[in-house]
């Protein structure tokens, strides 16, 4: 089995009295898609933010390859270049065109030549059917289009692993699909991803492994089939029941 790309070791994170992540450990191997599910406030988003060192942690560590990703740590910017992140609220840069959004980091951070970056950016936009929007501003796009641009923007930095933080939660139902399709496509390409989502059908379809987080702890970790069909713990069973309805007829 291949060496893990990313390892989370005994991560503890709290705000004051409140513990958000309680001794969380797991690893992700190259090409693996790990989906993190759990009730609101269980620490899913915080977990992703800690992996990217957007937030300080109390103890434990995150390792990318052989290096430690630490909040305020050395070489953080170069480590973050290797971790792509997509946010629920897209967070495109509103003052830049779609193309410039995608090209900004490769040009200014990776300092790659402009011709090459532009060619790649256009190819990536084409792949998500948004090449015709390259000169548009984010405000001219729909939510689903914005999120696809955000994914492309992350991809343009050639990350080794992608983090998705509830990327369809802010979208209208008919736009959820177009974003999920892009992610399925990425999975098919063998991209390594950690996905936080509330779309259970999607989670089941895309995941190699499901992590069920509750109260800041990993309660279950198994294959999607095992988790969705035969959840072992009471808490997971209860959580999954919230997604099914009994007929009232």
């Amino acid at each position: 089995m291949a060496e893990p790309i990313l390892t989370v070791e005994h991560l503890v994170k709290g705000y004051g009295e409140n513990t958000v992540l309680d001794d969380v450990s797991f690893s992700v191997r190259p090409g693996e898609v790990v989906v993190v599910v759990g009730p609101s406030g269980c620490g899913k988003s915080t977990l992703l933010r800690c992996i990217n060192a957007l937030e300080p942690t109390q103890s434990g560590r995150v390792r990318l390859g052989n290096e430690t990703v630490a909040y305020g740590g050395k070489g953080l910017t170069s480590l973050r270049q290797r971790i792509g992140m997509v946010f629920q609220s897209y967070e495109l840069f509103p003052h830049l065109t779609v193309l410039d959004n995608v090209m900004l980091a490769p040009l200014k951070v990776a300092k790659r030549p402009k011709d090459e970056v532009q060619k790649e950016a256009e190819a990536l936009l084409d792949r998500v059917n948004l090449l015709n929007k390259a000169r548009s501003y984010p405000r001219e796009l729909s939510g689903g289009q914005k999120q696809r641009v955000a994914i492309v923007r992350a991809l343009a930095m050639h990350p080794e692993i992608l983090l998705f933080d509830e990327v369809t939660a802010a979208l209208d139902p008919e736009m959820v699909r177009e974003v999920l399709d892009v992610m399925l496509d990425l999975a098919k390409q063998g991209r390594t991803m950690i996905i936080v989502t509330h779309e259970m059908q999607f989670a089941r379809a895309i995941a190699d492994r499901v992590i069920f987080l509750d109260g800041g702890k990993i309660v279950e970790e198994s294959t999607p089939e095992a988790f969705f069909d035969h959840p072992k713990t009471e808490r997971a069973q209860k959580f999954l029941r919230t997604f099914t309805f009994d007929s009232v007829k």
Partner: protein, 219 residues
């Protein structure tokens, strides 16, 4: 009103207008630099400097420009710092304008959601790059209305320069009234020249506001 007198005074006012404009723009340019630096100090919450900036803002905003100018022009030479009146005028305007510019820039910076910064960080940008390419362009376009208002305010404030014997528009008008009692002509020219300076600034300002309503600088 005697148009011959007006024509006769015209070159004097023209000369004064250039002085007003020169000193005004120099002071405003410095005020922008002070404002930007102080706004960044506040934005990044730099520990000690932040208090210094807070004190400066209160001192600068709550004293009249005339008093500030007197302090610089008459006060500083007493402790051995002697400069000419033009430098005093520019310094005074920069001291006053700086604090107004801080507020304009600060509100612009604060209007940008912190998650925009995180979004930039997650792409591997460092603090400087994030500020330069992501936060500042957006903050600046938000600041434009307040910024334009400040520029106009500061250009008008230059009228107190006459108190430290700078031969600006106000000085020229008062001088001519005092010497020749040509009150009407002098005041007429005074108004006309202030409008000549300020109207284009106002128009340019609203043009800028309209252009930048959505996009930022460097877009």
């Amino acid at each position: 009103m005697d148009w011959n007198v007006v024509a006769q005074y015209l070159p004097l006012f023209e000369k004064a207008a250039w002085l007003t404009l020169r000193l005004g723009l120099a002071g405003i340019a410095l005020a922008i630099v002070i404002g930007l630096v102080c706004a960044l100090v506040q934005y990044y919450k730099v520990s000690v400097l932040r208090r210094v900036v807070g004190f400066y803002i209160q001192l600068s905003r709550n004293t009249p420009l005339l008093v500030q100018l007197f302090f610089i022009y008459y006060g500083l030479p007493k402790i051995g710092i002697r400069t000419d009146a033009a430098v005093c005028g520019i310094a005074g305007l920069a001291f006053l304008g700086g604090s107004y510019m801080v507020e304009a820039f600060r509100s612009g910076l604060e209007s940008i959601e912190p998650i925009q910064t995180e979004s930039a960080y997650s792409l591997g940008m460092d603090r400087m790059q994030t500020m330069r390419y992501v936060i500042l362009p957006q903050a600046m376009s938000t600041s434009v209305p307040a910024f334009v208002a400040n520029v106009i305010f500061l250009l008008k404030e230059t009228s107190v320069f006459s108190a430290i014997s700078l031969m600006d528009l106000m000085f020229t008008a008062k001088d001519l009234i005092g010497l020749y009692y040509k009150t009407t002509e002098s005041l007429f020219l005074l108004v006309v020249f202030y409008l000549l300076i300020l109207l284009p600034v106002s128009l340019l300002g609203s043009l800028l506001e309209r252009r930048l309503r959505y996009a930022g600088f460097g877009a």
